[in-house]
Symmetry: none
Subunit: 200 residues, 4 copies
Amino acid sequence: MPKISDEKRAARRAQILNAAWTCFQKEGLHATTMDDIIKASGLSAGAVYSYFPGKSDLILAAVTTSLTDLTALVLPLFSVSPPLSETELLRQITANVARFSMREGFDLRRIALLGWSEAQRDDKLRATMNGFYQAFRARLVQAAEEWKKRTPDGASVSEEDVAKTLLALILGFVVQSAIMGDVEPENLESGLDGLARLRG
Amino acid sequence: MPKISDEKRAARRAQILNAAWTCFQKEGLHATTMDDIIKASGLSAGAVYSYFPGKSDLILAAVTTSLTDLTALVLPLFSVSPPLSETELLRQITANVARFSMREGFDLRRIALLGWSEAQRDDKLRATMNGFYQAFRARLVQAAEEWKKRTPDGASVSEEDVAKTLLALILGFVVQSAIMGDVEPENLESGLDGLARLRG
Amino acid sequence: MPKISDEKRAARRAQILNAAWTCFQKEGLHATTMDDIIKASGLSAGAVYSYFPGKSDLILAAVTTSLTDLTALVLPLFSVSPPLSETELLRQITANVARFSMREGFDLRRIALLGWSEAQRDDKLRATMNGFYQAFRARLVQAAEEWKKRTPDGASVSEEDVAKTLLALILGFVVQSAIMGDVEPENLESGLDGLARLRG
Amino acid sequence: MPKISDEKRAARRAQILNAAWTCFQKEGLHATTMDDIIKASGLSAGAVYSYFPGKSDLILAAVTTSLTDLTALVLPLFSVSPPLSETELLRQITANVARFSMREGFDLRRIALLGWSEAQRDDKLRATMNGFYQAFRARLVQAAEEWKKRTPDGASVSEEDVAKTLLALILGFVVQSAIMGDVEPENLESGLDGLARLRG
DNA sequence: GATGAATGAGTCTTCATTCAT
DNA sequence: AATGAATGAAGACTCATTCAT
């Protein structure tokens, strides 16, 4: 098969995935019907099914894609030089999540909530998400190790726990802003600072 | 059958809600059919529908109940004397959430994830959840005010932001432990401490 | 059993029938649920079922009642002295039907259409209605005989056919005014006159 | 399955409509279940629903079709040359209705009664039927104008009222023959004649 | 390969009727 | 005798998936 065909295949896949994403976000995972996606994609039912064996695969692919896109957005933040401080990293990550959420009608936060819910039922999806979050947290652990090295008297700090705490803050930011809608990256930065000062 | 007593009505309602909760948790909100709930409740379809007008009401009631139960569990923590410190409050809240999650096979965290997802589609549910979280965060603001008073040099701390940050930590704990399953209340306590020390 | 009890029974029956009539008219025969009637009657389900074995009996009774009421309204017209002319009788009958239709929200024409439709399915109802219409047409035949006697040269007139024609006019008036709503008794009188003149 | 031809689509539609008509007539409009129609049509539920969005549309289409078929049967009678007399037109119309009623097991009169009843509840259906009868009556008015022109001394005749009277006779014929079953076109012709003679 | 019509098991919900209290 | 909660068999309609053309 010539190369064009492969490109076309990839384009078609992206086209379907895009349609699925839009629908999922607007209607939720279960309220979206295959027909919605088929219509939105502009292809035929048979065509869609030739790219994805079933609805659950489409869901998995959509969530995976959004996770991958997010990774591409966030990973560079770990490699800037000089490395970002904890406060700065948290602010940038949450800011990126918030910014990504506004893009072209795709709200990453909604997709995240939908995905978490679906992961309760779908083993494959849960495994995929788990893997992604593990990898992400591993990067946070690495970053924490860096900060630790630079901190005199930081030997007793658990980089694992710091990573878990940062991840909790990020995920909690996603939920809180999706449900309540009145949280900005700066709030966490200020709150974290306040919390430290209140503890003395 | 003559008029049923109020207690019996309430008991029946609870019986149905209990069945629904069990099913929702096992299967997810949409994958659970009314028939599942009907069978699990041990009642007839008509009986279930005489207590709840439809499936969405059952979902709303199930989520509301779990939210109410959680409130009952967590609210007392704000009233202990002497008041808990921020670290202690966070640890106790997350510990209660984790403990509640293990109770009688009901996992509050799963219900929470399912509810958040459903709230994207169901306006009534979203309003209910929003109200609950607003009230909860207001209590956190109050607590932060207390801490602020006791902190010399704490005047510039934003209690709003502290509350948002604590809520983010709690919600993030729920997500992280539901999806990844390897987070304990102590991790957040230690991580928050480490974070403060790394910041200098 | 004392007399009071019987009276009470009759009153209850009427109360139920009244409720049924109102519902049937507003919603149609099938769209009306037993619960609608029960609620409208102010009695309990059991009470209603102790007076009428089932919904079809209620329908039969409601139609029969309306037919009976109509009879009471129309029959006297055949006994007035001196007897009414054909034109006058037709006008008075249709006028009574129209007037009855306006009474207290009960529209006899609607009940008639509903009853005819139901009679297609319900043998008992069909038999009842058939009997009523036969009796009514027999009265028309009698009236036609009278007119015939008074008409010189009327020997060859078929009183049966005159009666069928008058009945067709009355029933057609009911349908036309129920569906189209722009027919008055006078129209038929004038139309019949015109028809005669056009025939030469 | 590739795109189906227009003829095939129309044939399928007719097939379903035919099944619906048969069922409606046998069982009545509401007693007929979608499953009855689906079974009778030989198609699947999904197929039927892809041609008709719901039961009420099927009812509307069935009634509309029967009305259209009837129009095709009756309209030519208004265009014969030389024009039919009032008596003749009435006889031919009723005769056609009666004949149509016998065709292939479809009884137009029953459909008419069912439709009138349903029109009480269904606005769309009522509007459709009203439109049809208005058009039909307009043709009767036209015919009456013709008769009027040919009648010396006919100037004062109201063609509107003549049309309303003729329509009442036709509709009344339908009801009377459907419910009582002992009326023939000739009866009306003779009765109308007798009525004129009795009036002097 | 692509199409989209067709499938049919499955969903939520209703409602005439019963019968325990 | 009266009540009204409970029953459960239908009913209308949906939708992921297939496969004839």
